[in-house]
């Protein structure tokens, strides 16, 4: 993946770039320690509003998965023609804090996806429309 210039991101607030791997950002309740993704303004566990930014990391394990077998309707904006749609993987990744992050997967082959497999955060150009800069989102790939 060539990212000489800073990539156009669908969700810039969720990511910290610049290191070897992108890092996912969430928040943590400073009263009870509960961790949230994406960042939350309040803690639904203890009802506190004292939240701080929390880096969830770049590595986790596959907690559940599916294959998106049909092209979603709007607001999905992958931009491909219906005939060109390729099924994509979606999963929850369990991060070291225990939080499970819902994410696109770089794989869409059921034979290659196993609950518990190690995964790493990458950027995925989910929208590639001719004449436009590609738009990236976060995704997990086998580590």
């Amino acid at each position: 993946m060539n990212l000489d210039t800073s990539p156009k991101l669908a969700c810039p607030d969720l990511l910290r770039l610049g290191g070897e791997h992108p890092v996912l950002l969430g928040s943590r309740c400073t009263d009870c320690g509960e961790v949230y993704f994406p960042a939350s303004e309040g803690c639904t566990r203890c009802c506190s509003t004292a939240m701080e930014t929390f880096a969830l990391g770049s590595f986790g394990t596959l907690w559940s998965w599916t294959i998106q077998g049909f092209q979603p309707k709007s607001p999905y904006n992958g931009g491909e023609a219906e005939a060109d749609f390729q099924p994509y993987g979606v999963g929850y990744i369990e991060m070291p804090s225990g939080v499970k992050v819902e994410s696109r997967l770089t794989l869409a082959d059921p034979a290659q996806l196993k609950i518990g497999m190690p995964m790493v955060l990458v950027l995925l150009p989910y929208r590639q429309v001719p004449g436009e800069a590609p738009v990236y989102t976060y995704a997990f790939a086998p580590a």
Binding site: A10, C11, L14, G26, E34, V35, Y36, F37, P38, T44, R45, W63, S64, W65, T66, I67, Q68, G69, F70, P72, K73, S74, P75, Y76, N77, G78, P87, Y88, V90, G91, Y92, S97, G98, V99, K100, V101, E102, S103, R104, P110, I115, Y126, R127, T137
Partner: protein, 383 residues
């Protein structure tokens, strides 16, 4: 209990597609059928609660039924709309506000999958734009994890759908009335694995209505009232695995279904082993799979054997979704929960024809579950 409430009239507009009628017209049709069943008129009704998701306001039904001045409250609780309307009518009758009440649900959804907008759910645009905001995805992810944790295979998912369509074929008012073979289901399009095309219900249209009154007056109106032993609604706690959640908490907590079910059994003073006929939310095979255990009808993981042995069939020990459930009837969101109650009433009255549960069922159970984490349970007893 001398404050109990009884169902004295049931009415439906068949689910499916009725291009000529609006959702409200189908709701009004259901109310008229329920009034006829109870042998009363609209002007006898003292209070009404009702709702739809996409079919407009329930109180506008008065324009068709008659402007009698009654308090008519609009309910908007997604999949729990019918359950909430029912619980509200019961409370109104118990409070002495009215002698006779009506609960009504109806809907008319656009074709195809529901099309939610991130902002309506407190989410940012990227969640929808990048292709993560789909209910079918959620059901699949939840089912996959559940099957992994409890050692369940795809066989259970196929059998749930197969039974739904088998029962639907026996149900005159069902939408999908064609039995499907095991292979047809198991080889249907991979919508969101492990869930396939014939394991999902479709949005639909229809109406369902109930007439209720105090149980001590019920026999004035009908020879076979159905007593509401419990009608409970609960919402999610922190840590529950619900739809449209980009992140799940580190520690999972019991689902709202578990809380609603426990409260209903406690309230009714009975247990899962006492129930003779069951309706469970089956927006998809995976949801029903999970709900069999969450409602206390077996331990987690036992479903595989239960389903394979036929225990959940009409002639089995735990007859589930005897009218084909959402899979065979579709899901008009506002009406769906009341359809379940109507099917149980029909079974308890012994009027279910070809799909009648044998013996004389005395106790029935209904369960709905939906976004953003609500569940409603009723326990019903032949009066």
């Amino acid at each position: 209990m001398d404050n109990e409430v009884a169902i004295i009239g049931i009415g439906m507009h068949p689910f499916g597609r009725t291009d000529a009628l609006s959702g409200q017209q189908q709701g009004a049709h259901a109310v008229r059928e329920a009034l006829k069943d109870a042998g009363i008129e609209w002007k006898d009704v003292g209070v009404a609660y009702g709702g739809s998701q996409d079919g407009g306001n329930a109180d506008a039904l008065s324009n068709q039924l008659g402007l009698t001045g009654l308090p008519f409250v609009n309910v908007a609780n997604g999949c729990a709309t019918g359950g909430s309307a029912l619980a509200s009518v019961i409370a109104a009758i118990q409070s002495g506000m009215a002698e006779i009440g009506v609960a009504v649900g109806f809907d008319k959804h656009p074709r195809g999958a529901f099309n939610p907008k991130p902002k309506d759910w407190g989410l940012e645009d990227w969640y929808g734009e990048t292709g993560l905001m789909l209910t079918t995805q959620f059901f699949a992810l939840k089912t996959r994890r559940y099957m992994f944790e409890h050692g369940i295979t795809d066989d259970a998912l196929v059998r749930i759908a197969q039974r739904a369509f088998r029962n639907g074929a026996l149900t005159p008012h069902a939408w999908r009335r064609r039995e499907l073979s095991y292979a047809e289901i198991a080889e249907s399009m991979a919508v969101n694995l492990p869930l396939r095309k014939f394991m999902f219900c479709n949005p639909a249209e229809g109406g369902a209505a109930l007439v209720l009154c105090s149980a001590k007056h019920a026999r004035k109106y009908t020879a076979n009232p159905v007593i509401v032993k419990a009608a409970v609604m609960r919402t999610r706690h922190h840590g529950s695995f619900e739809v449209f959640n980009p992140g799940l908490a580190a520690q999972q907590s019991p689902a709202p279904t578990v809380m609603a079910s426990r409260a209903a059994f406690e309230f009714a003073g009975v247990g899962p082993q006492d129930i003779d006929v069951i309706q469970l939310q089956d927006t998809d095979s995976g949801s029903e799979l999970i709900h069999i255990a969450e409602n206390g009808f077996c331990e987690h993981g036992e479903q595989q054997h239960l389903l394979a042995s036929g225990a959940t069939d009409i002639n089995g020990r735990l007859p589930i979704n005897t009218d084909g459930g959402c899979l065979a009837n579709g899901e008009p969101v506002g009406a769906s929960g009341l359809r379940q109650v109507i099917e149980i009433c029909t079974q308890l009255r012994g009027q279910a024809g070809q799909r009648q549960v044998p013996g004389t069922p005395r106790l029935g159970y209904t369960h709905v579950y939906g976004a953003p984490g609500v569940s409603a349970v009723t326990i019903l007893q032949a009066g």
